[in-house]
């Protein structure tokens, strides 16, 4: 036991993949929800 962490690229890839996935999915959900809200508002007008 050296107290140093060896390897671990799988954890790095997982952290970056989760981050990218959350940003992309949340961004897409916002754009879709905004489009829906705008079309609903236009219909009611």
């Amino acid at each position: 036991m050296t107290g140093n962490v060896t390897g671990g690229w799988n954890f790095v890839v997982a952290a970056y993949a989760v981050t990218a996935a959350v940003f992309v999915l949340y961004g897409v959900s916002l754009i879709t929800r905004l489009r829906d809200a705008r079309s609903r508002a236009a219909e009611e007008r």
């Binding site: 954890f11 989760v18 981050t19 949340y26 916002l30 929800r33 809200a37 508002a41």
Partner: protein, 299 residues
């Protein structure tokens, strides 16, 4: 120049200039230094970091103040593109250019996304707190919409923060989760703001919803400084904050690039989410349409 174009320029240019200063001192100077080019005007690293942080936060505030939530999404779209570019640059340097850290090895690269997510999660909740205070004092519905947007973005970022932290904890602490002061106070913050979102969903009256959720946001915000100082106040497994003077530029370059990128994304997300809330509020606050009998009386 058309009036719309001129209004757009007047509205967003000050914020863009501040964010550009933040990006310049945040990572352009460090990137140039990395290639032995001096663009830092001889300023100390700590001062550059302070200018970057102040300019970036001031830019975000400027964007949110001048943003008209009832107009097109041009402003947030610019920030989205800028955020994606900065985040890609920062992640590329963090993954492929920066060296592994002495003790944590490759796993330390998680810091380049984890720490900027933490800063921006706390900043989103600070925006929610400020919006709640402004809404209570001015009763301006724009700030109710911004508050809802920043609470939701804060919750998404806090959830992401816990997920990244768990992934980092497993290879370094050998556990996915520990009831350590930093982790516990962050979990409390996540669930407190999630509760405020639930409260906003269940209360139908927009006036009651705005006031109750503003008060709840102000109370929940008390946990933000506790999260920040928890590693100093209590004996914590989580490491304490580093200062720019003690971190090599090979490590802070990707950290700052991602911090600026995620700040742009966070601001764009809040602005887009505020537009959705503003549209719903507009429908709720509109006078009810006249029914046929009333129409007859009017005629």
């Amino acid at each position: 120049m058309s009036t719309t174009k001129s209004l757009f320029v007047r509205r967003y240019v000050p914020g863009l200039v501040l964010l550009a200063i933040g990006a310049y001192f945040g990572f352009v100077v460090a990137l140039a230094e990395f290639n032995n080019i001096n663009l830092g005007f001889g300023l100390a690293t700590g001062l550059q970091a302070a200018i970057a942080a102040i300019a970036a936060v001031a830019g975000t505030i400027s964007f949110l103040i001048v943003d008209d939530v009832e107009t097109s999404a041009k402003g947030p779209n610019i920030l989205l593109v800028a955020g994606i570019i900065c985040f890609l640059i920062g992640s590329y340097i963090g993954l492929f250019v920066a060296p592994p850290e002495q003790h944590m090895g490759e796993v330390q690269r998680i810091m380049y996304v984890h720490v900027p997510t933490a800063w921006n999660a706390l900043l989103a909740m600070t925006v929610a707190f400020a919006s709640a205070v402004v809404f209570l004092f001015k009763s301006d519905w724009k700030w109710d919409a911004v508050m809802e947007g920043s609470i939701e973005v804060g919750v998404v970022f806090a959830f992401l923060l816990c997920a990244q932290g768990s992934i980092w904890a497993k290879p370094t602490w050998n556990v996915w989760w520990d009831w350590d002061p930093r982790l516990t106070t962050t979990a409390v913050l996540l669930f407190a703001f999630l509760g405020i979102l639930a409260l906003r969903r269940f209360v139908e009256d927009p006036v009651k919803r705005g006031i109750w959720s503003s008060v709840a946001t102000i109370i929940a915000y008390v946990d933000v400084p506790i999260v920040y100082f928890s590693v100093k106040w209590w004996n914590s497994l989580h490491q304490t904050q580093s200062s720019p003077g003690t971190v090599s530029k090979q490590f802070y370059l990707p950290l700052r690039a991602n911090a600026i990128g995620i700040l742009f994304l966070m601001t764009a997300f809040i602005m887009l989410r505020a537009r959705i809330s503003a549209l719903r509020l507009k429908q709720e606050l509109a006078p009810p349409p006249l029914v046929e009998a009333q129409l007859g009386e009017v005629v």
